[in-house]
C-alpha cells in the first residue's frame, strides 16, 4: 500500500468516524440523564448513578400500561399492514390493470393529505359509525389504512424484482394461487416486508394523533400520549422522569431494530435478480 492510499484510507476512516459521532452526539444525553436523580438539560455524570428515576416511573402504573398498549397497537398494525400490503401489492403487480403504478402513486399522495388533523374528523365519524370509539381495534385499523399506500409503494420495487417464473412453475405444478403466494412469493419478499414492517412499527410507535383522537380511556392510551403525564403542574417537563421514561419508551424500537437487523439484515432485494 503506498503512502497516498494509506493517507486517503485514514482520511476516510476519520471522516466516517466524525459522521458517526455527529449522529450520536444529540443522543449522548440519554446515556446519563436517566440515571441522574437531579438530571437537567446539561450533560452531567450522575453522582452516584441511580435507578430512582426508573422506580418513580414504574410507580406510575398508567405510564407502564401505556407501553403495553403501544406494543399491542404497533404489533397489531404491523401484522395487518404486512399481510394486507403484501397481498395487495403483489396482486396489483401481477394483474393486467392499466395505470397501476399511477394508482399506487395517487394513493400515496392521498395518504399524505390525510395524515393531518383535518382528516381526523371524517375518520372519527367513520369509527364512531362502526361503534369502535375507544377501542384498540379502531386504532389499529386506522393506522393500517393510513400506512398501507406507502407500504405498498415500498413493496412494489421488491415484487418487480421477483422473476415471474417462480410462481408460474408453482402454478403449473398445480398449486393454488394462495399456496403459490405463501410458499413462493412471501419468502422472497421478506426483506421488503421487513423494511415496510419496521417503518410501520416506527410510525405507530411515535404516532400521537390517531390514538389520541380515537381513544378515551386512560388504560388504553399508548406511550406517545401518556408521556405527557411527566410534565409538572406548571406544564414543564419533569426532566429526570421524562429521561427515564424516554429510555423505556425507546427500548422496544431499538430492540426490534436490533433483532430484525440481526435476523434478516436490512436489504431491499433478496439477492435475486431476473
Amino acid at each position: 500500500m503506498n503512502r497516498r492510499t494509506l493517507f486517503s484510507r485514514m482520511a476516510f476512516s476519520v471522516g466516517a468516524a466524525l459522521l458517526g459521532a455527529a449522529f450520536a452526539l444529540p443522543l449522548i444525553w440519554f446515556v446519563f440523564a436517566p440515571f441522574n436523580a437531579q438530571a437537567d438539560l446539561d450533560l452531567a455524570m450522575p453522582k452516584p448513578p441511580t435507578l430512582t428515576n426508573f422506580a418513580r416511573v414504574f410507580a406510575n402504573r398508567a405510564a407502564v400500561g401505556a407501553l403495553l398498549n403501544s406494543l399491542l397497537q404497533a404489533f397489531g398494525t404491523v401484522l395487518l399492514v404486512a399481510t394486507t400490503a403484501t397481498l395487495a401489492a403483489y396482486a396489483l403487480a401481477r394483474t393486467a390493470l392499466r395505470g397501476k403504478r399511477v394508482i399506487e402513486y395517487v394513493l400515496l399522495l392521498f395518504s399524505s393529505v390525510v395524515s393531518g388533523s383535518a382528516a381526523m374528523v371524517p375518520i372519527f365519524l367513520i369509527v364512531n359509525a362502526l361503534g369502535l370509539i375507544d377501542t384498540q381495534v379502531a386504532v389499529i385499523l386506522v393506522f393500517t389504512g393510513g400506512l398501507l399506500p406507502t407500504a405498498m409503494f415500498i413493496l412494489r420495487d421488491f415484487i418487480a424484482s421477483i422473476p415471474r417464473g417462480y410462481e408460474e412453475s408453482a402454478l403449473v405444478a398445480g398449486a393454488s394461487p394462495w399456496r403459490a403466494f405463501v410458499d413462493v412469493v412471501v419468502p422472497v419478499l421478506r426483506p421488503g416486508v421487513t423494511i415496510a414492517a419496521v417503518w410501520a412499527f416506527v410510525q405507530v410507535w411515535g404516532g400521537f394523533l390517531i390514538p389520541f383522537v380515537l381513544l378515551r380511556s386512560e388504560q388504553r392510551m399508548p406511550a406517545s400520549v401518556e408521556i405527557y403525564s411527566f410534565y409538572s403542574q406548571a406544564g414543564t417537563p419533569i426532566v429526570p422522569l421524562l429521561a427515564a421514561y424516554s429510555v423505556l419508551y425507546s427500548l422496544p424500537v431499538i430492540a426490534l431494530y436490533w433483532y430484525v437487523n440481526r435476523k434478516y439484515g436490512f436489504r431491499f432485494f433478496g439477492g435475486i435478480k431476473s
Binding site: R216, Q219, S229, Q233
Partner: protein, 475 residues
C-alpha cells in the same frame, strides 16, 4: 432446503399465534377491568389533569375527596352512583378537540373542564346547551350563584345564558424582587408604579446598575402563546382604556392605543433593551422567564398570581426559598393615572376554569347534582387544602396565603376578562404575531398593526371591525 424452511416458518407461525393469544387475553382483561363497576348510574368527569402531572392537585382532589364523598352521600340517599375521572395530560387545544368530537357524536364525559373562552365556539357549533336546559330549573336556582360575583359569572355566560359553573379565577400583577430593588435604590418595600413611565423608570434604574442585565419581562410574541395576550398585551391595552372590541362588539383593528402598546414593547425590547427579547422568542421562554426571575437575573415580571403560589413556591418548580421576603407584588398601572378601562388607575386581567355539563349526558340531573356538590363551599374549601388558589366563591377564601387574599381583594374589583367571543382565539393568535414582529424588530409598530388589521378583517369579516383615527398618535 424447502423442508427446513417449512418447519421454521411453522415454528414462527406458532410463536406469532402464542403472542396473539397473549395479547388477546390481555385486552380482554382490560375490557373486564374497565367494566368492573356495575352501578346503576355511572358518571364521568373529564379534566385536563393527571395525578402527579399537570394540575395534579386537582386530580387528587377529585379522586380523593369529590368522588368518594359524592358517592357516599348518594348512597346515603339510596342512590347507587359510580363516578370515574378521565385524566388527560395533553394541551388545552387537544382537550377541546376531544370534547368537541365527543359532544358532536353524543358521547363523552358527563362533566368536562372548560376554559371560559372556549364556550362560545362550542355553543355556536351546537355542542353545548345552557345549563338550565340540560339540568333543569334547579341549575339556575342553585344556592352557589349568590356567592359568585357577577364578574366571575361572566366567565361562563354567553348571550345572557349560563353554560357552566366557574370554579377558579386568577388575577395578573407585577412581581418584583426586593433584593434587586434595594440595590438599585428603589423603594423595595412598598413599590407601586402609578404609570407606565414609573414602571420603565424602575427598569432603567435596574438596568443602569448592571447594563448587561434585562430587568423587565412582559410577555410578547408567538412562542409565549396565550401568555402573551393575557399577561402582556391585554394588561397594557387595558391600561390605555381600550379593550379588544368596542361597545357594540366590533373588533378594533387600528387605534392610537394599540400603537401605544406596541411602542411600549418596542421601548422595552428594542430601543432600551430593558427586557430580553430572546427569552420571549424561545419555545421554552416562559419557563426561562421564571428561571431568570428565580435566579435574580430579572427583577420585574408581569404574571398571573399562579406564578407566586405555584411556580416560585418553595416547593414549586422554580422555588425561591424565602419567597415571601424576597418577592413583592404591585398593581399594574394604567398608562397614566385614570387612563385605564373604566377610568381606573390600575388594571388587571383574569381568566378562569369552569366545568360544563355534557348536553348528551345520560343522567343530566345526577350530573348536575355532582357538579353542584363539587362547587359547594365545603368541597371547594377542601380543594384549598390540595392547592391554595383564588376561588370564585366569596365564601371560600384562601385559608393561609395572605398574598392570595390581598391580591384577590385588591385586584378582582379592577379586573377585566377576555371577550367571550367565538373568534377570540384566532384574534389572540394575531395579537401574538403582531407583538412578535415588533419585539423582533421585523416591523415598526405601525406596520405590525397594519398586518394585524388585515388578518383580523379576514377572520371576523371587515364589517365586524372598526379602525380609529390615528391622528395624534406618535408617528
Amino acid at each position: 432446503m424447502p423442508a427446513t424452511h417449512h418447519t421454521r416458518s411453522l415454528q414462527r407461525a406458532s410463536t406469532v399465534r402464542r403472542c396473539l393469544c397473549a395479547l388477546a387475553a390481555w385486552c380482554f382483561g382490560i375490557a373486564l377491568a374497565a367494566n368492573a363497576s356495575a352501578a346503576q348510574v355511572e358518571l364521568s368527569i373529564a379534566c385536563r389533569c393527571v395525578e402527579g402531572g399537570v394540575n395534579g392537585a386537582e386530580a387528587r382532589w377529585l379522586k380523593q375527596y369529590v368522588i368518594p364523598e359524592y358517592v357516599a352521600a348518594a348512597r346515603a340517599q339510596g342512590r347507587d352512583v359510580a363516578v370515574r375521572l378521565r385524566e388527560f395530560a395533553g394541551s388545552a387545544e387537544q382537550m377541546s378537540q376531544q370534547l368537541a368530537l365527543d359532544f358532536a357524536t353524543a358521547q363523552g364525559a358527563d362533566l368536562a373542564e372548560f376554559d371560559g373562552f372556549q364556550i362560545p365556539g362550542f355553543v355556536d357549533a351546537g355542542l353545548l346547551k345552557p345549563l338550565a336546559e340540560t339540568a333543569g330549573p334547579e341549575a339556575d336556582a342553585w344556592e352557589g350563584w349568590s356567592h359568585i360575583p357577577d364578574s366571575a359569572q361572566a366567565l361562563v355566560r354567553f348571550r345572557g345564558k349560563r353554560y357552566g359553573v366557574p370554579e377558579q379565577t386568577d388575577v395578573r400583577m407585577i412581581f418584583y424582587r426586593r433584593d434587586l430593588f434595594r440595590r438599585a435604590g428603589l423603594d423595595a418595600d412598598h413599590w407601586q408604579p402609578r404609570s407606565w413611565g414609573d414602571l420603565l423608570d424602575a427598569a432603567r434604574k435596574l438596568k443602569a446598575l448592571d447594563p448587561k442585565s434585562f430587568p423587565l419581562q412582559i410577555n410578547a410574541g408567538v412562542a409565549m402563546g396565550e401568555a402573551t395576550t393575557m399577561q402582556g398585551y391585554l394588561m397594557l391595552l387595558a391600561g390605555t382604556g381600550e379593550e379588544l372590541r368596542d361597545d357594540t362588539g366590533r373588533w378594533i383593528v387600528s387605534s392610537a392605543n394599540i400603537l401605544g402598546v406596541l411602542d411600549f414593547y418596542k421601548t422595552v425590547y428594542r430601543d432600551e433593551q430593558l427586557g430580553e427579547a430572546r427569552t420571549q422568542r424561545l419555545v421554552s421562554g416562559r419557563n426561562r422567564s421564571f428561571t431568570d426571575f428565580q435566579r435574580g437575573k430579572s427583577a420585574i415580571l408581569i404574571e398571573s398570581n399562579w406564578f407566586y403560589y405555584t411556580a416560585i413556591d418553595p416547593q414549586g418548580d422554580f422555588p425561591i426559598a424565602d419567597r415571601d421576603a424576597v418577592v413583592g407584588w404591585a398593581k399594574m398601572p394604567a398608562r397614566a393615572p385614570g387612563g385605564g378601562v373604566r377610568a381606573q388607575d390600575f388594571v388587571s386581567v383574569s381568566g378562569g376554569n369552569s366545568f360544563v355539563l355534557n348536553p348528551h349526558s345520560k343522567h343530566p340531573r345526577e350530573a348536575w347534582s355532582l357538579l353542584a356538590f363539587m362547587n359547594s363551599a365545603p368541597a371547594l374549601r377542601n380543594y384549598q387544602e390540595y392547592n391554595e388558589h383564588l376561588c370564585v366563591r366569596d365564601d371560600v377564601l384562601p385559608p393561609r396565603s395572605q398574598f392570595l387574599r390581598d391580591s384577590g381583594r385588591e385586584l378582582l374589583p379592577l379586573t377585566t376578562i377576555r371577550p367571550i367571543d367565538a373568534d377570540y382565539e384566532k384574534v389572540s393568535a394575531e395579537i401574538q404575531r403582531m407583538t412578535e414582529s415588533v419585539i423582533a424588530g421585523k416591523l415598526t409598530p405601525r406596520a405590525a398593526m397594519g398586518e394585524y388589521a388585515a388578518a383580523v378583517k379576514q377572520i371576523v369579516g371587515t364589517d365586524r371591525t372598526i379602525a380609529f383615527d390615528l391622528r395624534g398618535a406618535a408617528p
